[in-house]
C-alpha cells in the first residue's frame, strides 16, 4: 500500500448536481418541505377553529384567496410526486413471497394506487 493515497473530496453542497439520479432523489426529498408546511396549515386551521366561527370563516376565506389556492396546488403537486415516487419503490421494500415465486412488483404498486383511490373516494364522500 502506498504511503499517500489520493482522497477525492465530495462537495457537501453540490454533490447532487453530478448525476441525474441524484437530482431525482433530491426532487423526491424536497417534496417533504411542502408536506411539512401543510401540516402547519392544518395546525393553524385547528387554532382558528378553536377561536370561534368568525376566526374559522376568516381562515376559510384566506384559503380561497389566490395565494391560498396557489399554495394548495403546489402542495398537491408535491404530494402526488412524493406518493408516486414512493409507490414505485414499494416492491423493493416490501416483497411478497408466495411459495418459490415473488408477487410481481407492478401488482404491489397497483395495490397502493388502488388503496389511494379508495381512501381519496372516502374522503371525498365524507367532505361533500
Amino acid at each position: 500500500m502506498s504511503s499517500k493515497p489520493y482522497i477525492r473530496e465530495v462537495s457537501k453542497t453540490s454533490w447532487f448536481l453530478s448525476q441525474p439520479r441524484y437530482k431525482r432523489y433530491m426532487a423526491r426529498e424536497v417534496t417533504c418541505i411542502f408536506i411539512f408546511a401543510y401540516t402547519f396549515l392544518l395546525i393553524f386551521a385547528l387554532g382558528s377553529l378553536a377561536n370561534g366561527p368568525d376566526a374559522f370563516q376568516e381562515f376559510l376565506s384566506a384559503l380561497r384567496s389566490p395565494w391560498g389556492v396557489l399554495f394548495n396546488l403546489a402542495v398537491l403537486v408535491a404530494a402526488v410526486y412524493h406518493s408516486i415516487s414512493w409507490f414505485s419503490v414499494t416492491p423493493q421494500a416490501m416483497p411478497i413471497q408466495r411459495g418459490e415465486e415473488f408477487v410481481p412488483g407492478n401488482l404491489i404498486v397497483n395495490a397502493h394506487y388502488g388503496a389511494w383511490a379508495v381512501v381519496s373516494l372516502v374522503v371525498l364522500i365524507l367532505g361533500v
Binding site: Y6, I7, R8, V10, Q19, A93
Partner: protein
C-alpha cells in the same frame, strides 16, 4: 469482419511517488466494436503505456475486480461495451475510494466493513457431521438467493452519495450480505449482525437514493435489502419497547 473504431480513451493517472494530484492522460486506441472498455485498457497496457495500473481478472463479470467510473458512471470494465459509447471514453477510479495508483483504489474500508457483518453461516445449533446436512426447501432458498449473487465489486459504494458524504456508513453491499444470511433458514446469527447493521452508521444512514440498485451489475438490489432491514429493525424496536416480555 468486425468494425474498427479509433477511440480517445481518457484515463485518470496518479503516481503516489511523483504526483501531488491526479491528472488525465488520453490514449488513442483502435477498438473493435465487440470490445469492452477493459479490452481498450489492456490494449493501452500492452501496446502504448505499460505503466498504467488497474485491477482486473476474469473478464466475465464474476470476479468484481474491474470496477471503474466510465463516463462518470460506476461500471464493470468487462461489461461496458465500446459500441455503447461515442468516440471519447473517460475512465476514472471508483468514486468515494482513495486512489492508490491510476485506476487502483484503496479498498480496506470496504473489506473491514464487509467482514464486520459476519458474512457467513452461523448455525442455530452445533451438530456433528454425522447428523447430516442442513436441509433447505427451494422456497427457503428463493428468500435470499438474489443477495448471494453479489460479487463485491463495490460499484454500489461508488454510486452511493451517502457513503461519499458519510464515510462511516456501513454501505449497501455489506448490509445486503448481512440480510442474505439473516434470511437464510439455516442461520442463527441475526442478533450478532443486528448489533452492527441496525446501528446509526448501519442501515439508518441510508436515505434510499436507490443508486446502488441502479448500478449493480448482478441485479442484487441492495437498496431493496436495506429497506427490508429497516422494516425488520423497526419491528425489533417496537417489540423490545412495547412488548418487553416477548423474545426477539
Amino acid at each position: 469482419m468486425s468494425e474498427e473504431r479509433q477511440i480517445q480513451l481518457e484515463v485518470l493517472r496518479y503516481n503516489p511517488e511523483t504526483d501531488l494530484e491526479p491528472r488525465f492522460q488520453t490514449y488513442s486506441v483502435p477498438c473493435v466494436n465487440e470490445w469492452v472498455v477493459l479490452d481498450a485498457l489492456n490494449y493501452v497496457k500492452e501496446n502504448l503505456d505499460p505503466t498504467l495500473s488497474y485491477r482486473w481478472s476474469c473478464h466475465m463479470a464474476v470476479c468484481g475486480s474491474c470496477g471503474y467510473m466510465i463516463n462518470g458512471e460506476p461500471k464493470l470494465g468487462c461489461k461496458a461495451f465500446i459500441h455503447e459509447y461515442g468516440d471519447h471514453i473517460r475512465v476514472e477510479p471508483l468514486a468515494h475510494f482513495p486512489i492508490e495508483r491510476d485506476l487502483v483504489t484503496v479498498v480496506e474500508d470496504f473489506i473491514t466493513k464487509f467482514a464486520s457483518v459476519k458474512p457467513y453461516l452461523i448455525p442455530k445449533e452445533d451438530k456433528p457431521i454425522s447428523a447430516g446436512e442442513f436441509k433447505q426447501t427451494p422456497a427457503q432458498l428463493m428468500k435470499f438467493k438474489q443477495y448471494t449473487l453479489c460479487i463485491n465489486c463495490m460499484l454500489c459504494y461508488a454510486a452511493c452519495p451517502q457513503y461519499g458524504l458519510v464515510p462511516e456508513f456501513l454501505g449497501p453491499a455489506a448490509i445486503s450480505m448481512a440480510h442474505r444470511y439473516n434470511q437464510d433458514s439455516r442461520d442463527g446469527g441475526r442478533d450478532q449482525r443486528q448489533e452492527v447493521i441496525a446501528a446509526h452508521e448501519g442501515v439508518w444512514e441510508c436515505s434510499f437514493v436507490g443508486a446502488c440498485s441502479e448500478v449493480c451489475p448482478k441485479h442484487v438490489d441492495p437498496a431493496g435489502a436495506l429497506q427490508q432491514v429497516k422494516v425488520a429493525s423497526t419491528i425489533d424496536w417496537y417489540k423490545e419497547h412495547l412488548m418487553p416480555w416477548s423474545k426477539k
